[in-house]
Symmetry: C2
Subunit: 350 residues, 2 copies
DNA sequence: CTGAAAGCGCTTACAG
DNA sequence: CTGAAAGCGCTTACAG
């Protein structure tokens, strides 16, 4: 293994001291070092293919230009767009991301955080897979930390979340505007804050428009649950003309159920999916109209906020950012058909 | 911000030298340090909540216990199970993973690799989103590197891939064993090595059993393409009784198409999906029988191999690991119906 | 305008 | 059995 060149090697080759090398290469040479020596240093550095050892720089500067990202597994997994955006934004800022994925309990998380602290990460990002209240760990008092998709009830930490209630209202709004007067909702488990807020948003918008809502709550946010709930909803005597699924995979199940029942989307049934984190809803047949949590923007804002915290030595201002979820109109919403043209669900052919 | 305790702080509190602290805390005290001093050091360390500064340790030991993971974006994105398994295995080995996601071109990749090298990662993992031949970069001659889902034609690097050809044969095998005598295949683009190998595997198994195969090649591995291809295949006068989709999202499209055509799975049509990386195929209605690329195992083997490379200073043995893809039998395969019971595809209700 | 020195926080030979 | 010293590779006051 070829040893990497050090500043000393460059200094030797250029015939100057190590300090001069550091000064020149860090752009603080003006008025300090003679022009010809500067050039010699630059040439030598290029010739030796020199780049500073980031570990040594980190030790010296007490800054690692590294951010720790804590995640933990959950049935809903984590969001790829958020991951991508985190990586992209940190890289653009000249930082490295160290990911730690743990089990969903305090002990494992503390351990992961201790490792991150030992490695002297400059800042921390906590990305929760599901919207929750998060009680900050001890280290977060000494390392700038930003919460993503979770809230610190004590208000001590900056957090970035989506306006889930508003998202629910927006979903209902799209359907109401299209002329629907009865809404079916397939909602995630009520012990999930996210599911609850979305449902409340839907119900608020419906109530404001004096529109009835029939809700099917499911235990899991998976395809099977969406399928079963949709069958129940669509087989009822007074089946709704429009459906909202509070989660992406529920929508996949609903689309499958509709197809099996011979119900055409959007001709016979309008459908709005919340979430498109897996780029599933938007790519289904037909492409679903969605209300999307702005995962990329959330990650960008969070990285920006947390890096701001490392530059301002007071840790930066504490804020709570709530991002809007906006509708992406695609092909799954139409005006409701007059009642007499509504289809008779066929026998199940599953 | 509270300063973290250093070894010096511990030494002061325990009334010993820094070296003694290091010795004791690294378990090399036996026969060197008096028992009571050892205890004093341990107590002091606990009291000050001391843990070594990993950056300093890295500089001193010239080992960062860190591995760099290079990925790049592609339409097919990257595999969450692989990601999870990478994280889990590195953590278990006491290493940290630094992820770098780049654009799919050599320049961006070189830059990312340079950053990783500057940060002195002990080893490198290259995770390709699609099976390709990968020409190693310069740094990989000096840092132990393992390729995942890609091959080094020059044979200089250890690589971990899946037996895609065998996977194709296995898929066909499941269907042939169930009694099917005509196979439809929805195959990914032929410029993809993975798609090509899978198709060849299918064709080889079919040929060995004197069974006809009708292939629909698609340009993109997305739901729309699977949908369109399935409609074509299933609307033909001699429609196959069984379908293989070489990729997960194609299978989603095929299931949707079948539902729209009133074709029941598995009663009227058997279906096998290759891949279940998104846990989509396995959770569809019905749950699809799949041949799965062993993403988790691939990542585990790769991490193990590359860390082996850092311990053996010759960089370790160079191997090419080809992992098997095994069938996961679920609910989408049945014996073919006698011809007279085959359904007439209904008019399209999409 | 430039070089020698100190120090970031560790570990490991080495001298006593 | 223990402590003082050197050194990992850098940067930044500081003295000249």
């Amino acid at each position: 293994m070829v040893r990497k060149a050090t500043a000393q090697d460059v200094a030797d080759l250029a015939g100057v001291s190590r300090s001069a090398v550091s000064l020149v290469l860090n752009g603080r040479a003006q008025g300090h070092i003679a022009r010809d020596k500067q050039q010699a240093i630059i040439d030598a550095a290029r010739q030796l293919n020199y780049t500073p050892n980031a570990v040594a720089v980190s030790l010296r500067n007490r800054r690692t230009r590294t951010i720790g990202v804590l995640t933990w597994s959950s049935p809903s997994g984590f969001s790829i767009p958020m991951l991508h955006a985190t990586l992209k934004t940190t890289t653009a800022a000249g930082y490295l991301s160290i990911f730690m994925d743990t089990a969903n309990d305090r002990d494992h998380q503390s351990q992961a955080l201790a490792t991150l602290r030992d490695h002297q990460v400059d800042a921390l990002l906590v990305i929760a897979p599901d919207l929750i209240d998060y009680r900050p760990a001890e280290v977060m008092r000494t390392i700038p930390t930003t919460l993503v998709n979770c809230l610190d009830p004590s208000g001590g930490l900056t957090s970035v979340v989506a306006d889930e209630h508003g998202a629910g209202s927006a979903a209902a709004g799209v359907l109401i505007e299209a002329g629907h007067t009865s809404l079916g909702v397939i909602a995630g488990p009520s012990d999930s804050m996210q599911s609850r807020l979305r449902l409340e948003g839907i119900e608020a918008a419906a109530a404001a428009n004096r529109i009835g809502v029939s809700v099917q709550a499911v235990l899991n946010r998976d395809i099977d649950s969406g399928f079963a709930a949709a069958r129940t909803l669509l087989s009822a005597s007074e089946a709704p003309t429009a459906l909202i699924c509070t989660h992406e995979r529920l929508a996949v199940g609903a689309v499958l159920a509709a197809a099996n029942l011979g119900i055409a989307i959007p001709a016979d049934l309008s459908l709005v999916s919340m979430d498109d984190g897996e780029q599933l809803a938007s790519q289904l047949v037909p492409h679903l109209t969605t209300i999307e949590r702005p995962d990329r923007a959330m990650a960008e804002q969070a990285v920006t906020a947390t890096l701001q915290g490392v530059d301002e030595d007071d840790g930066g201002e504490i804020r709570q950012l709530t991002l809007n979820c906006s509708p992406a109109i695609r092909d799954s919403v139409a005006r409701p058909q007059p009642p007499n043209r509504r289809p008779c669900p066929q026998a199940d052919r599953r």
